[in-house]
């Protein structure tokens, strides 16, 4: 039974998970401590005959302590999170040699534009695929993302990656898969009535498999691009 994170398959996933567990352990400990204290107080200081409450109005020292400790822990957390965040989302830090893949989302469909054999986006040998992203394991990719109609959000749980696609904005996201296999992707920003079925898959190949797949696309790509390109979406219909 899978009732927890899907198995990680990207370069950043492990770090995100570690950070998650750090926070989980800290907050878990705080949770147990505080709730236990609450329970102990409730039992110990319940109303009993012969004992009255003590008229205490506060304690500056205690308050300084319990202000300072969380403040230090929390600021540390922020400092730990910051570098990882910049690495994932700051496009200036992305690897130079990454392969660029285009992604345009429209209602309930993901349209990927592949650079073709020459590895460059924006020329004649580009080809398109709908709802399927083919990647080579351990290679750096940068998705050049935009949306045609409304705000969508690309969510690949196994990669721990999420990024909104906003119409009118050009947003980039770095991906580096570390495990071969097929992984699901979803839209995680309400985008219309068919939001729930805006499903796609990421197929992570070995370099050999990818080359074979690329060859097999030679004939299919032209037809696919035409089909994926400008078919009007079924507006409003789920």
């Amino acid at each position: 039974m899978h009732w927890w994170f899907p198995g990680n398959a990207s370069s950043v996933g492990g770090k995100v998970d570690s950070l998650f567990y750090v926070i989980l352990y800290i907050t878990g400990a705080v949770f147990v401590l505080v709730e236990a204290t609450l329970l102990v107080f409730l039992v110990r200081y319940r109303r009993k005959s012969g004992r009255t409450a003590e008229h205490v109005e506060g304690s500056t020292r205690a308050e300084i302590i319990w202000t300072a400790i969380p403040a230090v822990i929390l600021v540390t957390l922020a400092l730990v999170s910051q570098p990882l965040w910049s690495k994932i989302k700051d496009s200036d830090t992305y690897p130079r040699n990454a392969v660029h893949v285009g992604l345009e989302a429209k209602q309930f469909e993901w349209h990927f534009t592949y650079p073709g054999p020459d590895g460059k986006l924006g020329d004649d040998d580009d080809f398109m695929k709908k709802d399927t992203l083919h990647l080579v394991v351990d290679r750096d990719y940068v998705l050049e993302m935009t949306a045609r109609d409304v705000v969508h959000s690309l969510f690949i749980p196994a990669f721990r990656l999420k990024q909104d696609l906003v119409p009118g904005m050009d947003i980039r996201m770095w991906i580096k898969p570390t495990r071969t296999g097929t992984f699901e992707m979803a839209c995680s920003e309400l985008c219309g009535l068919g939001h729930y079925r805006m499903r796609g898959v990421v197929v992570v190949h070995t370099p050999q498999d990818y080359a074979a797949w690329l060859v097999s696309q030679g004939a299919a790509s032209a037809a696919d691009s035409a089909a994926a390109g400008l078919t009007p979406s079924g507006k409003g219909a789920p």
Partner: protein, 92 residues
């Protein structure tokens, strides 16, 4: 009465100042100054006029300090909102 304790300001003088500042503003537009200089001077003139209205017509100059704090409270928020959002668009 709190309102009568201060001597009434010379409203006509304030009015004259506002009128002159408005004329200066319009003049600045037609002077063909460098864009940046024009914007800065216009913003400065507008704030000056707004201050005159707030301080004299709305009597803020003669009110207790505490009321002044109430009134000034939203201004930093307005700046934070505009600056924050403008910064937010220089995206990845």
């Amino acid at each position: 009465m709190e309102a009568t304790e201060h001597k009434a300001p010379n409203y006509i003088a304030v009015w004259a100042a506002l009128a002159v500042l408005t004329v200066v503003e319009v003049a600045v537009v037609y002077l063909h100054l460098p864009r940046r200089l024009m914007v800065i001077s216009l913003v400065f003139l507008a704030l000056w006029k707004a201050m005159l209205v707030a301080l004299y017509f709305m009597h803020l100059r003669f009110e207790p300090k505490r009321l002044l704090y109430v009134v000034l409270a939203p201004l930093p928020l307005a700046v934070i909102l505009v600056v924050g959002v403008m910064h937010g668009f220089r995206g990845p």
